[in-house]
């Protein structure tokens, strides 16, 4: 998984499968960035995510709960079509901002030149 920190924003480029095998490592890595590096916005880029289950989604919800009281926020970008249904069922779209790449490019000029 690739990551990039720009000021207080952590960009995470998820890859492969996110389940109980690696959910905890991801959680620890993000929490370290929140606590030690002052991260307040997390952007999950899901372009290359092949699989996610409730263990993986739990990490996202947990980070949302951790950031909210600090005034932080979470964005999810480019959910692949085969993950739409599980995202919908998880209820995350009700509390977290989901953006397709085009829209996010317009909203966030920092990402303009970025390549997948």
């Amino acid at each position: 998984m690739r990551k990039k920190i720009e000021r207080q924003t952590l960009h995470l480029f998820l890859q492969g499968e996110l389940d109980m095998n690696n959910a905890n490592d991801l959680k620890i890595s993000i929490d370290t960035d929140i606590e030690k590096r002052g991260v307040r916005t997390i952007v999950f880029h899901m372009d290359d995510l092949k699989f996610i289950d409730s263990s993986g989604l739990g990490v996202i919800l947990g980070r949302y709960k951790k950031l909210a009281p600090l005034g932080g926020k979470i964005q999810i970008r480019n959910v692949p079509a085969h993950l739409y249904k599980i995202m919908e069922l998880s209820g995350l779209p009700k509390i977290i901002e989901f953006l397709p790449e085009n829209k996010s490019k317009q909203k966030d000029p920092h990402l303009k030149g970025e390549k997948k």
């Binding site: 499968e17 389940d19 109980m20 095998n21 699989f51 289950d53 409730s54 263990s55 989604l57 739990g58 919800l61 947990g62 085969h82 993950l83 249904k85 599980i86 069922l89 998880s90």
Partner: protein, 145 residues
């Protein structure tokens, strides 16, 4: 197609969630399951096996989980069995957002229910849990092969 039976028993290690998922996914592909249904089957199996390891065995790796599969051209039935701590109140456990672990979402059973056509859970405290899931194969779907 003839009935196919497969029975996989494995150590309660996290990496075996991947193995169980791959097994079911390979079988589903052989049954020409559309790609979306294949993904859903993988989630359901992932949830059931994760629950056995995380809740049933409290992440102790020295136990065993069994996944028993029976497939035909009509349906695929999957049982996930552990001999772990069991569930006190199955009805409550199956409710959305209910979890005995504050770090988890309580959506495992919801995903199993949503992604499979049938779900039955049998559990006895201190004896173990059996999750039985069935997916009917809809042959009007275009093949994803």
């Amino acid at each position: 197609m003839r009935v196919n039976k497969l029975n996989l028993t494995f150590s309660s290690l996290p990496e075996n969630v991947t193995i169980a998922r791959t097994l079911v996914s390979t079988l589903g592909a052989q049954l020409d399951l559309p790609i979306n249904e294949l993904e859903e089957l993988k989630v359901a199996v992932s949830e059931a096996v994760s629950n056995s390891i995380i809740h049933g065995y409290s992440n102790n790796p020295n136990n065993f989980v069994t996944i028993e599969i029976e497939s035909s051209s009509e349906k695929i039935q999957i049982q996930v069995v552990d001999h772990g701590c069991g569930i006190e109140d199955v009805k409550q456990a199956m409710q959305a957002s209910f979890s005995t672990d504050p770090d988890r979402m309580g959506l495992g059973f919801i995903f199993m229910q949503s992604f499979m056509d049938e779900l039955h859970v049998e559990s006895t405290l201190n004896s173990g849990t059996k999750v039985i899931m069935t997916k009917y194969l809809n042959h009007s779907h275009p093949s994803s092969h």
